[in-house]
């Protein structure tokens, strides 16, 4: 029994080391190789089972706190899709440059940002939240914003974070608990379709 447990842990550690390397995408659609209906590889299945996620790596250490406390920006100033539709959106570099043409232009990260802008490229921001495609979850921000559910309920207090990090675990029980409390629909096809 002990041997079995040890080997499971060993496999886990090996898979984990692979998992957190920066080149790996969280989800790689791998045609051909199939481990199970929901997972392309054994590593995916194990990571899924153990709830491992790779930490997002951002091209620029975007300080949410500074923008909230010093620039007095609301979340929806940049994430302007949240009030209107399904996706909150990571803002385009054009939105950044609204202010950063003039603001803090002497700082190195802003110069990097400007170089992205000038070369016509978007900084390769990585999403902090999101479900695996296998979860078959469809989420729409707009009705939640309309019900005046604070962003912090699902995203933690991002206003106090330097680089946004996944503070809340978006499990099904997390969603369903809130839906039950607020008497929102808990029909499967409300989210899974």
């Amino acid at each position: 029994m002990g041997g079995l447990a040890a080997s499971v842990v060993l496999i886990g550690v090996l898979a984990g080391v692979r998992l957190i390397s920066a080149q790996d995408r969280l989800v790689e659609p791998q045609s051909g190789s199939v481990f199970s209906p929901a997972h392309a590889t054994f590593r995916d299945a194990l990571a899924h089972f153990l709830g491992w996620r790779r930490e997002p790596v951002q091209p620029i250490p975007f300080p949410h706190r500074t923008h909230f406390e010093e620039a007095f920006l609301e979340c929806t100033y940049c994430h302007d899709g949240a009030a209107r539709g399904p996706v909150a959106r990571i803002p385009s570099v054009v939105v950044c440059m609204d202010c950063h043409f003039d603001v803090a232009t002497d700082r190195e990260p802003i110069q990097l940002l400007t170089s992205f802008y000038e070369s016509g490229q978007e900084p390769p921001w990585e999403r902090v939240y999101g479900w695996l495609p296998e979860a078959h979850v469809r989420f729409n921000h707009a009705p939640h914003v309309r019900r005046e559910i604070e962003c912090t309920v699902c995203h933690g207090d991002v206003t106090q974070m330097i680089v946004a990090e996944p503070a809340v675990d978006h499990t099904m029980s997390f969603c369903v608990g809130c839906h039950e409390q607020s008497q929102a629909s808990i029909d499967c096809v409300t989210c899974h379709y």
Binding site: S31, V34, P37, A38, A142, P143, C188, V189, Y193
Partner: protein, 236 residues
């Protein structure tokens, strides 16, 4: 709470298959290729069946679009060991992909042959993957799928309706699945069967109406309208 249903006017259907194309585009339905299709693995949530009546040259061609009949007494539901196939409060036979373990019992139980199994992981070569609908899952290998009456559109319409009024009533005619929207002949009519004034509800009560394989007792939510020999005027 609405009870979704559809009416199909077979006298209007021209068999153009625009509904089939629209459904594929809307619902991220993969194409399987000629070899797999020859093995009976083609996936079309809606298909147009052709019927020839009479002998050449005196033939008459009729069409019948067939898709999930969203039965009230659905044979696919009780056979599912994981409750992946279940009945929603709005009268839909829903399919929860996460729960599906691919036993295919539901497809065997279905009298209408409208459930499709993913024998392979679907692939779209670039740039075709860019046209995938982000509001709909891409189903992976080992999962059963079927017509959902465009549940993504129903959910979106409900969200829009609730933004406008507290009650959140979806007005008749504001919501259409992709097939009905694309039907040039207006043969497909979708709506709430519990609303006595809705178009689909009026059509479903027509004396021209009949259900597909009614004698099986699955109680479909889809009504087919067709001129009978007994009523040359076309009835309702």
């Amino acid at each position: 709470m609405p009870r979704w249903g559809m009416a199909v006017d077979l006298d209007r259907c021209t068999g153009c298959e625009a509904c089939v194309t629209a459904c594929h585009a809307e619902n991220n339905i993969p194409t399987v290729g000629p070899e797999e299709a020859a093995r009976g693995r083609a996936m079309h949530w809606i298909r147009v069946e052709r019927y020839w009546e009479g002998e050449f040259p005196d033939v008459r061609l009729t069409f019948r679009p067939v898709f999930c009949q969203q039965c009230d007494n659905a044979p696919c539901e009780p056979v599912c060991p994981t409750y992946a196939s279940y009945h929603t409060d709005e009268g839909l036979n829903a399919q929860v992909y996460n729960r599906c373990i691919g036993t295919r019992y539901c497809a065997n139980a279905c009298s209408y042959n409208v459930r499709f199994f993913n024998f392979h992981n679907p692939e779209w070569d670039r740039p075709l993957d860019l046209q995938l609908n982000p509001d709909v899952s891409v189903r992976e290998v080992g999962v059963m799928e079927k017509c959902t009456f465009c549940i993504q559109r129903i959910n979106a319409a409900r969200i829009d309706a609730r933004a406008e009024t507290e009650e959140g009533r979806i007005e008749d005619g504001t919501l259409q699945p992709a097939c009905a929207q694309s039907c040039t002949a207006n043969a497909l009519v979708f709506g709430d069967l519990d609303d006595a004034d809705s178009r689909v509800s009026r059509l479903s009560r027509s004396p021209r109406g009949s259900k597909l394989l009614e004698e099986l007792g699955a109680e479909p939510s889809v009504t087919y309208l067709q001129k009978g020999d007994w009523d040359e005027s076309g009835g309702g």
